[in-house]
């Protein structure tokens, strides 16, 4: 009986893992054009190509958190990067949903983008717009 449960749990896990690429981290497919509008919410503090109150976003995907040279990050963000946090769809999804929960002590004191579709669109936009080659 016990053994059966373990097997079915493993089976369930396999099914879940297989489903991950389809439903990228549970987010619906994103629309970059809508995402550009959502990015307007970040525009008090960020730009793609220049540091402002927040760091520039150029080259964001694949970058270690807190790693733009010379930008005055919080100790919390620097530590997250030192501990191996790298920005990708999954980590950005979690961070942007609730920044101060994902990185307590961050200076990005912003409640987050709570709506899944908004976040998916934002990530689709960021993925395009932050490619270094675009600079």
């Amino acid at each position: 009986m016990k053994r059966g449960n373990v097997i079915s749990a493993a089976g369930l896990l396999a099914v879940l893992l297989a489903a991950v690429p389809l439903a990228a981290f549970g987010l619906p497919p994103g629309d970059p054009a809508r995402g550009e509008k959502v990015y307007g919410r970040c525009f008090a503090c960020h730009a793609i190509d220049r540091d402002r109150t927040g760091p520039r976003h150029a080259g964001l995907f694949g970058r270690r958190a807190g790693s733009i040279p010379g930008f005055p990050y919080s100790p919390a963000m620097k530590k997250a990067g030192a501990n191996g946090l790298v920005w990708n769809e999954e980590t950005l999804d979690k961070f942007l949903q609730n920044p101060t929960k994902f990185i307590p002590g961050t200076r990005m004191t912003y409640a987050g983008v709570k709506n899944d579709q908004d976040r998916a669109d934002l990530l689709a936009y960021l993925k395009e717009a932050t490619k270094e080659a675009k600079q």
Partner: protein, 192 residues
Amino acid sequence: MPELFIPSFRTLARRVFLARTGQAALSATAVALLAGNEALAAQSKSGTKDVTILNTALGAEQEAIAAYQVGAESGLLQKPVLDLAVAFQGHHKAHADLLASAIKKLGGTPSAPKQPADYHFPTSKLKSQADVLRFAADLEKGAVSAYLGAIPLFHNRDLAKAAGSILGDEAMHWAVLRQALGETPVPEAFVA
């Protein structure tokens, strides 16, 4: 039926300009927003510190002040719009003063503004009055979102209220700038 009076943009800009209060360090309203808040420092120690939220907001306000300065000195703004930019810049200065004074009350140190050149404003892309207005409108819209995202994080409700007061002002800037651009001034029922 009484006719609906829609003032020309020129009239509107003039009114905003005339309504400018003398730029006293902190207006009576601003002082009232923080009055009786000697307990500000007694916030909970867990979670995001209010002083951190205030300092991030201060950084954005300081940039807005510098951005309006660039706009005002660009030579691209014609008279009623120029007055409007100067008036809005004055509001941002008042916001920055309020935030700095709240930071000090909390025992923190207000972050210093950057040198104007260090903001690296995209000045090469600003070629007309409309470009400057668009840039300012986007900044104001972003500022509204930033305050909206800050309000739920404050431990102290009076600080949340002060942020709401600033949000309202910046939303009005955004609407007037859209109007100046010939766009629907208030496009939606909600801000996000």
